[in-house]
């Protein structure tokens, strides 16, 4: 890493590490904030999508004649209006086909046609007038069933990758992945205890409150605008431009405020459809998904089926670990099982380990990222097995984990050798935490589990412009999902040496800044934070030049300290310092506006590790679990704004607990989703949870000027297993199927009683 590393050791931050309210906070609580559905344009139409009621069907004919004649209908599109311009790019072709079915509906909710009309009622009426002739095809929604010989094959083009010799027949298995190191057979031979278990996890959705929404406007001259709720407007721009054949520079995408994404808004669903409708109608089109559409036709995370085998010596050393994991990616191939393999054993230093992943397609919506995608399911299986192993060996689960914990220098199962990482710190903090000593009552149990997420860096571009009054506009291209505008403003203030209030951070549209990757992979604060540091330093260089000019001295005699230029050296020492404000006020006469800029591929994202403690009470007669206490301990590298770091810890834990207890996609035998709404897709409500306690640890990431690691995702990884381990300790039953809903827990308790 070529970056200046001096700040890693910086101990005395002025602004960073303190707590400020987010600049967007008041607008959000007063309802002023403008989300995806809050934009309108003159002459705008309402877009609506017609969706397949079948899990799998050939589309024989789409007759739009009647609908087109309905007064007020301005455009109807089908896949014919979205010609395939994707060339050899199968990934892009999949996105196109997912946005609008091409001859075949691949899941319940797959878009088949879309309408733009003058109002909501007309659009709804028009949808009913579109006559689609389907021929139902056999379907499969379960990941294990989809792998069977007898399963209906969803795509003839899919020949399993990663298998030797190459299969000759298509199947639903898109890819096999294998990784790990050492000799697992030898490892198991060394073990005194071996545990082998199979697990299942059901499909869950990110459950963001704001549905997908956009306002699209395409002009006959090939220019276009899109206002949209997204985690990455630059990526949306590139994808939409490719799918519609637009020039990248001519499509202006503006990201609205975002009402949650958690990965689900990294992917386009209705945006290309809205653009195509607008192109055909030659009017702006606003398209807002309903909640049922969000559930049926955006990207939840995989359902899985996982086998784990682990062996340990009597002293607790894990000698070998094997996992075989099957993840479905919905109707299109993904690399979700591969991510499961990469994360499964990442918290531990296991001499012999092997992970095998199977990426499978089924008749369900195309899977998208969900907060540390694929890691929570792998952790559920591995962390549950570790507790079973600890029980068998006779060691406390926390000590078993500490005994095998990964450290700096450990070879990670997915390849790299770790630098400084914080997993051991979190485990020690858990062990010392008062929560671990709190007394438990009847029917209560405590569980601990660990989690890992890579975090990523990527492309970022940032501008910093100083106004003549000395206030600073920080222009960012990474969408603010979790309060990053406040964190970035804090970093700029820290570098420049000015108060936080003097900096205003904004998210720019795609015409105002160079490309920025998505806000995903917990990269926002890491990468934009890095670019902000460098942009601010760039601006400081300019400020020093201008001060030198104002003084009439040479630049090398100027230093920047506490928000002001100071002349150094014997001959200039008596010059009074020039503040940022004073320099800015004179900028018109010293060379024009003062700005800093940075573009960077932010390498060196620090891995995120966490350990959670969960106390649960189980009603033995109904199987209902109540979380009574929960603690998150996670390494943040450096917490820029501790409020928002804690918020991420709590939010991830809450989502994980929801998944652990009740959230699941329920499919009927007909392959249709039974619960596409918040009534029966049960995310936790406020009263379901105790206050979630947090502890931030700071093991600096040496590859970031401030030591930052991403913090957004790791917190969803441990809860499934933490809850499962707590239930096991409360009831004596090991739950191997998540969510661990009351009927499943009661059935397990019954089975145990029956057995004994």
């Amino acid at each position: 890493m070529g970056h200046d590393q001096k700040y890693v050791d910086k101990k005395n931050y002025e602004v960073v590490g303190t707590r400020f309210n987010r600049p967007d906070g008041i607008d959000k609580v007063t309802g002023k904030a403008r989300y995806g559905a809050d934009a309108s344009a003159p002459g705008q139409l309402v877009g609506r999508v017609l969706r397949s009621p079948h899990a799998h069907a050939s589309i024989l004919k789409i007759n739009v004649g009647k609908a087109e004649k309905l007064p007020g209908v301005k455009a109807i599109i089908t896949s014919a209006d979205l010609p395939d311009l994707t060339g050899q790019d199968q990934g892009l072709a999949d996105i196109l086909e997912n946005c609008m079915a091409r001859g075949r509906a691949l899941y319940d909710g797959h878009a088949v046609a879309a309408v733009a009309a003058v109002d909501e009622q007309t659009a709804a009426k028009a949808l009913k007038l579109i006559d689609v002739k389907y021929k139902k095809l056999p379907h499969v929604t379960d990941v294990d069933a989809a792998m069977c010989e007898s399963a209906p094959v969803i795509h003839d083009r899919i020949i399993t990758r990663g298998v030797e010799p190459k299969p000759t027949k298509p199947s639903n298995i898109a890819a096999r992945t294998q990784m790990g190191h050492g000799d697992v057979e030898a490892g198991f031979a060394e073990a005194d205890v071996v545990i082998e278990k199979s697990y299942k996890t059901e499909q869950t959705h990110q459950g963001y409150i704001e549905p997908h929404a956009c306002l699209a406007s395409v002009n006959p001259d090939g220019t276009a605008e899109l206002w949209v709720t997204t985690q990455g407007h630059f990526v949306f721009r590139n994808v939409c431009a490719s799918l519609l054949g637009l020039d990248i520079a001519k499509l202006k995408v503006t990201s609205s405020e975002i009402g949650g994404g958690f990965g689900g808004k990294t992917h386009v669903w209705v945006e290309p459809v809205a653009l195509a409708l607008s192109r055909k109608a030659n009017r702006p089109v606003k398209l807002v998904m309903g909640r049922d559409e969000v559930f049926r036709a955006t990207g939840p995370t995989s359902s899985t089926s996982i086998d784990v085998k682990m062996g340990a010596k009597k002293d607790g050393t894990i000698t070998a670990a094997v996992a075989e994991m099957r993840y479905q990616g919905g109707a299109f191939p993904g690399n979700w099982a591969m991510l499961g393999c990469m994360t499964a054993f990442a918290c531990y230093d296991i001499k012999n380990n092997q992970s095998i992943g199977w990426d499978v397609v089924v008749n369900r919506p195309k899977v998208a990222a969900y907060r540390a995608p694929s890691a929570p399911m792998a952790a559920f299986a591995v962390e549950s097995t570790i507790d079973e192993l600890a029980k068998e060996v006779g060691i406390a689960p926390i000590d078993m984990r500490l005994k095998n914990v990964a450290r700096e220098g450990t070879l990670a199962p997915y390849g790299p050798t770790y630098g400084p990482i914080g997993i051991e710190h979190t485990l020690k903090a858990v062990k010392d935490h008062p929560h671990m000593r709190a007394k438990l009552k009847k029917n209560q149990g405590r569980g601990v589990a660990c989690g890992f997420w890579f975090n990523i860096g990527g492309q970022t571009c940032t501008d910093l412009n100083i106004g003549v009054d000395g206030t600073v506009n920080l222009t960012l291209g990474t969408v603010d999902v979790g309060g990053s505008r406040s964190s970035m403003a804090m970093i700029a203030a820290e570098e420049l040496g000015i108060p936080y209030e003097q900096v205003r951070a904004n998210i720019a549209d795609t015409t105002s800044l160079g490309h920025n990757d998505m806000t995903e992979g917990s990269r926002g604060t890491f990468s934009s934070g890095m670019a902000t540091v460098f942009a601010a330093r760039d601006a400081i260089g300019v400020l020093k030049q201008r001060a030198a000019k104002m003084w009439g001295i040479t630049e090398e005699h100027v230093i920047w300290e506490n928000g002001q230029a100071i002349a150094t050296g014997d001959s200039h020492g008596n010059l009074p310092p020039l503040s940022l404000k004073e320099i800015a006020a004179k900028s018109g006469r010293t060379g024009g506006p003062i700005a800093g800029h940075n573009e960077v591929v932010a390498d060196g994202a620090g891995m995120g590790f966490a350990s959670h403690i969960c106390d649960v009470e189980v009603d033995p007669e109904t199987g209902r679990s109540t979380i009574i206490r929960y603690t998150v301990v996670q390494d943040a590298g450096k917490a820029i704004n501790p409020d928002y770091v804690e918020g991420q810890f709590q939010g991830g834990a809450t989502q994980g607990i929801g998944w652990a207890l009740n959230e699941e996609y329920i499919y009927g035998d007909d392959g249709r989703l039974q619960n596409p709404g918040f009534l029966d897709y049960r995310i936790p409500v406020c009263s379901d949870l105790p206050f979630i306690d947090t502890q931030i640890l700071e093991v600096p990431n040496p590859l970031h000027p401030y030591g930052i690691r991403g913090v957004g995702e790791t917190s969803i990884v441990p809860p499934l297993a933490a809850v499962g381990n707590a239930i096991a300790n409360a009831t004596g039953v090991r739950m191997s199927h998540a969510p661990m809903s009351p009927p499943r827990v009661l059935a397990a308790i019954d089975a145990l009683e029956y057995a004994s």
């Binding site: 109904t622 009740n662 329920i666 809903s741």
Partner: protein, 286 residues
């Protein structure tokens, strides 16, 4: 879609009976508006009863209570007399939805929506509630357990409006309770609901009424369960019999909210718990 605000229940009944298209009464709207927005109903006429004088009031008399059709859950929760008389019913009514829903949701709407899982219905049945029905021509009074005929179906004929729910004044040493099972703490639909009212004499159950929700197409009255309690001090044997009778009375479906097996089992569990609460409220000592 037309919207009307009649000034009396009779006028409402007249509007409904004259309407040729699809007509719906609107009380709190927490069921109707949801269905409307989801496109499940397409009314030609919506008749809002909330402007009818006194329809949002609870009247107390020597005979008991008359709860107007537009009285909301939160008004029920704030009524001291009702709470002292039928605490189980008040709790059931207050379980519906959230604070926002409580500001609107009514007993009559809960009843007429005719969901098998309606929370207040088993509690109303156990308390001996009656529906006061006004038609274009005549009035009639029907016990609550006779109102719902099946999912989404009531005994009301075209033009009939429920004006109020009447509740008797509880006899001395009576207690009631309602418990429901939901996976979360609120904002869920009952997987099982159990309402029990008990009257004691010298510490022994003299009369009982047990009604279950969400385990059959309509709420079910379980005389066998009541018999299990009568004559007992809720000893373990009586409670076991109660649970068995409740489980046996279940005729549920397997769906996304619960399995047949689970619902049947939990009906018995909740019945035992509800019986104990009702018993103690009636002054019994366990």
């Amino acid at each position: 879609m037309r919207y009307a605000t009649p000034a009396s229940a009779k006028e409402a009944a007249g509007m409904l009976s004259k309407e040729r298209g699809a007509a719906f009464l609107l009380a709190g709207g927490t069921d109707l508006l949801v269905k409307l927005k989801m496109g499940m109903v397409e009314p030609d006429l919506v008749v809002d009863i909330k402007r009818i004088p006194k329809i949002d009031q609870i009247q107390t008399s020597a005979k008991g209570f008359v709860i107007g059709a537009a009285v909301s859950g939160s008004m029920i929760g704030q009524h001291k007399g009702l709470k002292a008389a039928w605490p189980g019913l008040v709790e059931a009514a207050n379980l519906i939805g959230s604070d926002q829903i409580q500001g609107r949701a009514t007993l009559v709407g809960n009843l007429c929506n005719a969901s098998p899982a309606a929370d207040s219905v088993p509690a109303m049945i156990a308390a001996g509630a009656k529906a006061i029905i006004v038609g274009p021509q005549k009035r009639r009074t029907v016990p609550v357990e006779k109102v719902v005929l099946g999912p989404g179906k009531t005994c009301l004929s075209k033009g009939e409006v429920i004006e109020a729910i009447s509740l008797p004044k509880p006899e001395a040493r009576t207690g009631d309770a309602y418990l429901r099972f939901i996976p979360r703490t609120e904002m869920d639909i009952a997987v099982v609901g159990v309402a029990i009212s008990l009257k004691l004499e010298r510490g022994v159950a003299k009369k009982a009424k047990v009604a279950l929700g969400a385990v059959a197409p309509t709420a079910v009255v379980v005389p066998g369960a009541a018999r299990a309690l009568v004559g007992s001090k809720l000893d373990e044997a009586a409670l076991e019999k109660l649970a068995a009778a409740c489980s046996a009375a279940c005729n549920p479906i397997d769906d996304k909210r619960g399995t047949v097996e689970y619902r049947t089992r939990v009906a018995g569990v909740l019945a035992k718990r509800a019986a104990k609460i009702a018993f103690q409220r009636a002054g019994g000592v366990l």
